[in-house]
């Protein structure tokens, strides 16, 4: 099964935001670069927030041949 590589994982996005925050705090960073970083950071953080707000838990079930089938919640019975 081919690995479905997401372009940028959520964790990578958060790491980048931390990095941007640190760079912005660095006073030696130029105005132009700072503004570019700021714009990138704002864009990224808004993307993350919308990802989180729109997230819906995905559940699948693994079969013996490694293929996945959708999981139905009513497969769980109350004990």
């Amino acid at each position: 099964m081919a690995k479905k590589k997401i372009k940028n994982s959520f964790e990578e996005d958060l790491k980048r935001l931390e990095e941007i925050s640190d760079l912005l705090e660095n006073e030696d960073y130029g105005l132009d670069d700072s503004i570019t970083l700021f714009e990138e950071g704002i864009k990224l953080s808004k993307l993350c927030i919308s990802k989180l707000k729109n997230a819906e838990l995905k559940i699948s079930k693994l079969k013996t041949d490694l293929s996945e089938t959708p999981f139905e919640m009513d497969e769980i019975q109350e004990d």
């Binding site: 935001l17 912005l24 693994l62």
Partner: protein
Amino acid sequence: MENQILTVSELTKEIKYSLEENFSRISVIGEISNFKSHISGHWYFNLKDSGAVINCTMWKGFNSQVYFTPADGMKVIVNGNLTVYPPRGNYQLDSRSMKPAGEGELQAAFEKLKQKLKSEGMFDEEIKKAIPAFPQRIGIVTAIGGAALKDMISVAARRFPLVELVISPSSVQGAGAADTIVNSIKQLNKRNDIDVIIVGRGGGSIEDLWPFNEEIVARVIYSSRIPVISAVGHEVDFTISDFVADLRAPTPSAAMELATPDINEVFGFLNEFLYNASTQIESVLETSSEGIKRFLNSYAIRYPLDQVRKNQQKIDHLTGYLVQNIEKKMLLYRSKLSVLNKTISVLDINNTLKRGFVLVKQNSKYITKAKQFIKNEDAELQFSDGEIII
């Protein structure tokens, strides 16, 4: 019987008949030794006590009903039939079922396996893999119908719905459960997109939880490429899986909490970033604009401006001086001009004409000498008050 001579086969046949007739469906208590699980799936072992030993077999079809894997030294109660094997002339207990002689037996087996695996370094902290903080996919090894799964799903949905759960179903209690757990963990390890595996089940008796005390389960967790969180039973239940796993969670819900970040904390981080970044960029802008002001007020910028102003003044001064001089000169020339005008008016030809002189013109040319005059040709005589032609 005394005088009768029996062949070995006849004797053995008698023994077989007698023993199998009298010792069918018997229960025997004893300690297991020399236990071997053959590749065929059959079990071979001895039962012994301080005074005797008996060979035992347990065929695959029966031993698959035993929820635990026997180990040497474990005291068990075996139910079965005595059988005689004539070619070897021996007898053995053909076991049909087996159970521990008491709860202490399972506990003892547990301690023994724990010590064994520990001495192999399988519980060492240094080899434990880190649990990723932001998993994209979590593999779950548990029973499909269980409450544990339901709990884990609701925790994941609440804490970090960005994650994807991949369930690798297994049975979690009874005979054969250990094999399905092993298989499920192996299946998940065949994929390369699973960040962490949670192996577990809800609470139950020591028998229920036993699959998680099996050596094969411990070994597959140990060799799992993907980090494993073990979550078996309640807080008070400890299994071999818990010791060998990269992380032990007291319950399946707790395992999911350990495997996922809290969405509110992530929101907090993001909002804090937005606030901090804005503050930081404002201060960058402030610093830059101060720099510009400082630059504009600097000597380097002010000096040329001052020079320009100074020169401007000089130019203004010179221009004023120039204008003044020109005006003076103009005045001078004007008075000279009026004197000259007077002189010219004295010399004006008309005044001369008025005094009685005449200008003579022939062919539009002034005749100033007598020899220029041509007789019999028109001449134009100019008086002070007009011209006549003669």
